[in-house]
């Protein structure tokens, strides 16, 4: 008997349902169309048991039919939640998961979920928050705004949307301590970004979620306004297309086994093909699920949006779903 088993036998803590984060089934208790393309989904425990609390900006992994598992930002403040709420944008050109959810979900149905997971948390020492939302990227922004409002703290929200697609705008306006700035064109969004980034109090952290061009504009404007990168946080839901890259070799440190990674094949797929147990979700360098420790590497080409600039230059971890390199020794 290993010491871990002994410990589990002796201490049976963390058995309360509000600690459950693994795969489990929740019941659909609410379905509300917010716009003609966004469906708001409420999920609760079938037995009415409490759910695990979560950090604002967390996401929930949801079974999206036919083996697909999609990650959606939770829109609540995360404190003692009675339900998990997500807003699903129907993407006809996507992998089909969002369309499946739109077409198949019915009230009372049970859905397999996992999480919540925190990949977009608030800085613990922030003095103020500038929250920037583009389109359905409003979901984690609403979560942050609600958490700050519950704590009685202020936030400034910039919400960029196309008229007729302003999901959750009323919920943002309902928060007392939150100022909402709206923009409905690219030019308005750019002007608001420039103005807001130049006028935030000392110690503000900024958080943005939205389409890639908006996030690029946000990061460029923040840099121009003198913001150090440590204050500029972003969550991406779509990653740009990547080139196939050169072939290289990866080595599994535990066994010394070598895995050849061909051009156009990701390190993650090559490792999975070789039977290495690597968890993954988005395969786009966005979610952070497949993060692997690296013992050493001749070169690492980080192409993900998860690791910080410091982590990338430290070269101790790699996101194998998108990143490549030469002679990578992964700690597996």
């Amino acid at each position: 008997m290993t010491s871990t088993q002994q410990r589990d036998d002796e201490f049976v803590g963390h058995q309360h349902p509000a600690y459950a984060l693994g795969r489990r089934r929740l019941r659909v208790t609410g379905l509300t169309p917010l716009t003609n393309a966004i469906l708001h989904v409420e999920l609760a425990d079938p037995e009415g048991r409490p759910l695990a609390g979560y950090q604002p900006g967390s996401h929930l992994v949801v079974d999206a039919g036919e083996g697909r598992r999609n990650a959606y930002s939770l829109t609540g403040d995360g404190f003692n939640p009675q339900s998990y709420e997500i807003s699903v944008l129907r993407l006809p050109e996507g992998r089909g998961g969002s369309s499946w959810l739109h077409e198949h979900l019915t009230l009372g149905q049970e859905l397999e979920v996992e999480g919540p997971r925190s990949m977009f948390p608030a800085a613990h020492d922030q003095q103020h928050a500038l929250l920037v939302a583009g389109g359905v990227g409003v979901t984690p922004i609403l979560s942050h705004a609600r958490a700050l409002s519950r704590a009685g703290r202020g936030a400034t929200v910039l919400y960029s949307y196309r008229p007729g697609h302003e999901a959750h705008l009323d919920h943002l306006h309902a928060l007392d301590t939150v100022d909402v700035v709206e923009a409905t064109t690219v030019e308005e969004t750019q002007a608001a970004l420039d103005a807001l980034l130049a006028s935030q109090p000392f110690g503000t952290h900024a958080y943005a979620c939205g389409p890639s061009p908006m996030l690029t504009a946000y990061e460029t404007a923040a840099s121009a306004a003198g913001w150090p990168s440590g204050r500029v946080h972003a969550e991406r839901f779509v990653a740009p297309e990547l080139d196939p890259g050169d072939p290289f070799t990866a080595t599994l440190v535990s066994t010394g086994r070598q895995v050849e990674v061909a051009s156009g094949v990701s390190l993650l797929d090559a490792l999975l093909e070789a039977g290495a147990p690597v968890g993954y979700l988005c395969k786009q360098g966005v979610c952070g699920e497949c993060r692997l420790p690296v013992r050493r590497a001749a070169a690492l080409d980080h192409r993900d949006f998860v690791l910080t600039a410091e982590e990338k230059s430290a070269a101790t971890h790699v996101m194998p779903c998108v990143s490549r390199g030469r002679d990578i020794h992964v700690d597996l």
Binding site: Q6, A198, Q200, G226
Partner: protein
């Protein structure tokens, strides 16, 4: 039954590293705040050099303080920080004690390391944190030395350990078996 063997890692000193000469102003900033403590010539020279560099880049404010403990000086700092906008770079110059106290205040107000530049004109005094009564006071001493705590009158040895957020060195009692003086010094 669980047997746990704890490995105590080698103790690594955490001490402030001061540059030999003042660092250049970070011109990625869009505004600048220079905080100078004391009337020493070197403080004025360093602050003046920073102000000249910063003014060429963006709006620059110079705050001159007599001390870092007087309420009116702390109010001045709070007022300057209240006016500062994110994008600012803060430069601090003074004696080691003053600089460490100010950096602590700035870090507790959410400043990132990349926003701070500091220069100590001397290392004669340190802020010392008493592990027993939690007083932080000015000690004319250095790590490895000793001083008396004005809060609980214990004789403290000064460890090679400075807490960055607290902005003070760790002091703990030299003679643990001696009863402290009740009511302080």
């Amino acid at each position: 039954m669980i047997t746990v063997t704890e490995e105590i890692p080698p103790q690594v000193p955490s001490l402030p590293h001061w540059p030999e000469r003042p660092e250049q102003v970070d011109t990625d900033g869009t505004s600048f705040l220079v905080l100078a403590v004391g009337s020493a010539d070197e403080v004025a020279t360093v602050a003046g050099g920073w102000v000249a560099q910063a003014e060429a880049v963006g709006p620059t404010t110079l705050g001159i303080l007599d001390s870092v403990d007087a309420p009116e000086d702390l109010r001045t700092v709070e007022e300057l920080l209240g006016r500062a906008r994110t994008g600012v770079r803060v430069m601090v110059v003074g004696g080691q004690y003053e600089v460490l106290r100010l950096l602590s205040l700035l870090r507790r107000r959410g400043a990132l390391e990349s926003e701070l530049t500091a220069f100590a004109t001397d290392t004669t005094a340190i802020p010392l944190f008493c592990a027993h009564c939690q007083t932080i006071f000015r000690a004319e001493a250095a790590p490895g030395g000793e001083d008396d705590c004005p809060g609980c009158a214990r004789r403290l040895e000064i460890h090679e350990h400075m807490a960055v957020l607290l902005g003070a060195f760790l002091g703990s009692v030299v003679y643990p078996d001696v009863e402290p003086v009740k009511g302080g010094a």
